[in-house]
């Protein structure tokens, strides 16, 4: 595994953004045939470091060596030429093109003709060598998310990548798909590719990596061999620099049904297929119900129906026993609903207005924030100051532009705003996606607190670890239908994972 000359060597990388030092003399070494985990909270500098390596930013100082020779990487093309490939969280594919055509993009033509036969041969070769097989003539947009990701990896290898950066590759995958990815990663490593694996899921990191580099506040705080003796707790504490309390689920008294959906159906504008079909569910006070599913199977629609943003064509939503007709968001909020949308910025906050503005948004025209149409600045400031303190939102000033906050702080602000006025029902969609360990822990503890206060929580998430840690029951949504209603204690990750892919639904 470790030859004398490392495949990739980054030394003393420095990158500043204004006053902020995103990378402080960072060293990183990657050997051929090795999977290196890169860990750190949001804002720890992982992404900056990888962007420097892939040529999106140029470093203020530092050197990069690939296989012993110094390289100058000023743009992604330089990085690709040096043998560095990156698979981003969001794919860069031409969805209308076939797999083959996606590989052809950017390839030199042969006497004015695209060199299709050659590309096809290379595709088969890569597929065989690393177990990354793909249907060459399929349209990229019709591939599953896992296959699209595989295509991105193949694209990088096709361009001659020896160093492969995978930025949170498992966040979009089901457990089964993740296992497939790991097999491919092992095959690639065996063939001498060096892989940098970025993930927030510590279980996966311990599973797949050979070594770990952990960053905090722009610096490398530890580089460890993954020798099987490491624990998640240990890693999490290194990442956030203090000890963590694992979420503890106290037993809570179950109360009356606070949120109920009765045979909700939604076809939507396209009308091609039902986006929600006959969805019924009930959440009691003092209960967290998890909603599992691969995104795109109706979670967003479900959340928006409950929030009153879209009206279902069939069925009804009841909050605290009150059947809502012709719902709108204002009415649902009046009945005691708090809603944390998946798209925090797009559907929740006001990016270029101040944090105070974002935080008073749902209640700005109510007491105490305003009277007779006049805003009460003092009351608003007091509220924001109090919430900022209580939630530990890190801001320099309260009139800071909302959009400049980090992801974790944005989510805290949103939670603070939604939970401040004691909602009866909380619907949260992907509340911890993209958050670092510390922020995730905080969000989880807030949900458990709501549970012990007798509130009803519907937690929509793709993160099975999270669902299993928090939920009393887990529902599975597949193709707009609830295909599973399981007690958390009586099920397993693999059972839920299977239901998420719809395989069990067909058997029923």
């Amino acid at each position: 595994m470790s030859s004398s000359i490392p495949l990739l060597e980054m030394r003393g990388i420095e990158k500043r953004f204004g006053d902020v030092c995103a990378n402080k003399s960072v060293d990183l070494t990657l050997h051929s045939g090795e999977v290196l985990g890169l860990l750190g909270e949001n804002g720890a500098g992982k992404t900056t470091l990888m962007n420097v390596l892939f040529g999106m930013y140029s470093a203020d100082a530092g050197t990069v060596r690939v296989a012993g020779s110094a390289v100058s990487i000023d743009c992604p093309a330089d990085a690709i030429a040096a043998g560095v490939g990156m698979v981003h969280q969001h794919f860069h594919l031409v969805l209308r093109h076939t797999v083959l055509e996606n590989l052809l993009v950017g390839q030199p033509s042969l006497h004015g003709r695209l060199n299709k036969a050659n590309v096809r041969r290379r595709l088969d070769e890569i597929g065989e060598r690393y177990g990354l097989t793909l249907p060459a003539e399929s349209v990229a947009g019709e591939l599953s998310v896992g296959e699209q990701q595989r295509l991105e990896i193949v694209k990088a290898l096709f361009r001659g990548a020896r160093v492969l950066i995978l930025d949170e590759p498992t966040s979009v995958l089901t457990p089964q798909q993740t296992e497939g990815l790991f097999e491919a990663m092992r095959a690639m490593a065996k063939e001498g590719v060096g892989i940098i694996f970025i993930s927030h899921k510590l279980g996966e990191v311990l599973d797949i990596t050979d070594r770990l580099t952990i960053m905090r506040r722009g610096e490398v705080v530890a580089t460890l061999d993954n020798d099987g003796a490491l624990s998640r707790r240990q890693l999490a504490e290194l990442m956030c620099g203090h000890e963590l309390e694992p979420p503890r689920k106290a037993s809570a008294q179950k109360g009356a049904v606070l949120l109920e959906l009765k045979s909700v159906g939604l076809r939507g504008h396209t009308g091609v297929r039902e986006r929600l079909a006959d969805v019924s569910l009930a959440v009691r006070g003092g209960e967290i119900v998890g909603m599992a599913g691969v995104s795109g199977n109706g979670q967003k629609e479900l959340a928006e129906v409950i929030a009153g943003v879209i009206r279902p064509e069939r069925g009804q939503v009841e909050i605290n026993g009150y059947a809502v007709r012709n719902a709108n968001p204002r009415m649902m909020r009046r009945l005691g609903l708090a809603y944390i949308p998946e798209d925090r910025i797009g559907a929740g906050l006001l990016p270029s207005l101040s944090l105070s503005d974002s935080m008073m948004l749902p209640r700005f025209n109510q007491h105490p924030f305003s009277r007779f149409g006049w805003l009460n600045r003092t009351a608003i400031q007091d509220f924001v100051r109090e919430q900022v303190k209580q939630y530990g939102i890190r801001v320099s000033r309260h009139d800071v532009r909302t959009g400049t906050l980090s992801g974790g702080n944005l989510q805290k602000a949103l939670l603070a705003r939604e939970l401040a006025f004691h909602p009866l029902v909380v619907v949260a969609a992907q509340p911890t996606r993209g958050l670092d360990v510390g922020a995730v822990e905080f969000v989880h503890s807030r949900f458990l607190e709501l549970r012990s206060q007798g509130r009803a929580v519907l937690l929509i998430s793709e993160d099975l670890e999270e669902l299993f840690a928090l939920s009393d029951r887990i529902l599975v949504l597949y193709a707009g239908r609830v295909v599973g209603n399981l007690c958390t204690n009586g099920t397993s990750v693999s059972e839920v994972g299977l239901l998420m892919t719809g395989s069990a639904a067909e058997a029923v």
């Binding site: 000023d74 968001p329 559907a347 207005l353 600045r377 800071v400």
Partner: protein
């Protein structure tokens, strides 16, 4: 070495003053080339322009009088654009307000004390009604607001021309001029014997009121929230359509007041040449002011200064008066470029050391 744009974490407040000033300075430098091309001396031309705009009581007052309708239309656009209601129709709303004022001001049956308030109210209502048409079309049928507001300008202009050619034609001269309003309906002159009328004061006071509305009231907050992120505002329980309608009503009323001021303070009648495009200038003024109601006042004064000063300059140096249009137009371009620096800053980027 190359230049690179980098996102700013926050925008310093002094940018609100420095950027428009810088944009105007660049505009003047740019227009110097045109003055040179016209064969005139740059310094004396600009000097003539400044003297023409501010030199002496009458020139100064003319600039202020000219600024009044521009303040109103600038405010109208600033309010609408805050909610992302793209009201290009201040011109038509101004004409609607002017016609309502001319109609009310000529009514013999009304008590004299009620004339001015009724003209103000009537003009505002007329402008608001005219602006609510495209707003309802947008909310109900998703009709594009840019196109609808723009097209309604022409509808209103030709409605006015039809009126002037028919029922409102001057019976004596036969010109397309409406009958004069009653003397008692004329706005009071604040400074005899100049033309400084009540409407000018009204414009400045309105700018302050609109600033208060936008920054201290729930309506202003709703307008800003909807403009910033309509989806988030909707999810938070705001009725986005209703806020857009209120915005249009406020915006149209302000544009209507521009028309009231011109009729009651200056021309005392409606005629074809009532507005030399004040509604359109309002768009540029609002942009120069960065949609800040208080910024609208200096921006409108700048426009008025250029317009009145250019005439003096033209007489003294022979530079065509159309230079005023070039200055006004190019100031928008340079302001838009300057706005880039509020969100980005330029960094000189060296190659990474290897």
């Amino acid at each position: 070495m190359r230049l690179q744009l980098e996102l700013r974490p926050s925008t310093p407040t002094w940018f609100n003053v420095v950027l428009p000033t810088a944009a105007i300075l660049v505009t003047l430098v740019f227009c110097s080339a045109l003055i040179m091309a016209a064969g005139a001396d740059i310094v004396s031309s600009y000097k003539a322009m400044i003297v023409g705009a501010f030199g002496g009581r009458f020139n100064l007052v003319e600039t202020m009088v000219k600024a009044a309708p521009l303040i109103f239309t600038g405010l109208a656009v600033a309010v609408a654009f805050r909610a992302k209601f793209w009201n290009i129709g201040a011109e038509g709303q101004l004409l609607a307000g002017a016609m309502a004022a001319a109609f009310i001001g000529a009514r013999e049956g009304l008590p004299t004390w009620s004339l001015a308030p009724l003209m103000i109210l009537g003009g505002a209502v007329a402008g608001a009604l005219w602006a609510s048409v495209p707003a309802v079309l947008k909310i109900r049928y998703k009709v594009d607001d840019v196109v609808a507001t723009l097209m309604l300008n022409f509808v209103m202009f030709y409605l006015m021309m039809a009126l002037l050619a028919g029922p409102w034609k001057d019976p004596l001269s036969g010109y397309p001029d409406s009958p004069d309003i009653r003397t008692a309906a004329e706005f009071r002159i604040l400074w005899e014997p100049t033309r400084l009328h009540l409407g000018v004061l009204l414009a400045v006071v309105t700018a302050i009121i609109i600033w208060v509305v936008m920054n201290r009231t729930t309506l202003g907050f709703a307008i800003r929230a909807v403009g910033e992120n309509a989806r988030a505002a909707g999810h938070a329980g705001l009725s986005v359509g209703r806020v857009v309608l209120y915005t249009a009503i406020l915006s149209g009323a302000l544009a209507g007041l521009a028309g009231v001021g011109e009729v009651a303070g200056l021309h005392f009648q409606v005629m074809a040449s009532l507005s030399p495009g004040y509604g359109y200038s309002g768009i540029v003024i609002a942009m120069l002011a960065r949609l800040n109601p208080l910024g609208v006042v200096p921006a409108a004064l700048f426009f008025a200064m250029v317009a009145t000063g250019a005439e003096t300059m033209s007489r003294k140096t022979g530079v065509p008066v159309f230079l005023a249009d070039v200055i006004q137009g190019s100031s928008l371009i340079f302001m838009l470029v300057a706005l880039l620096f509020t969100t980005y800053r330029v960094r000189v980027r060296r190659h990474a050391s290897v």
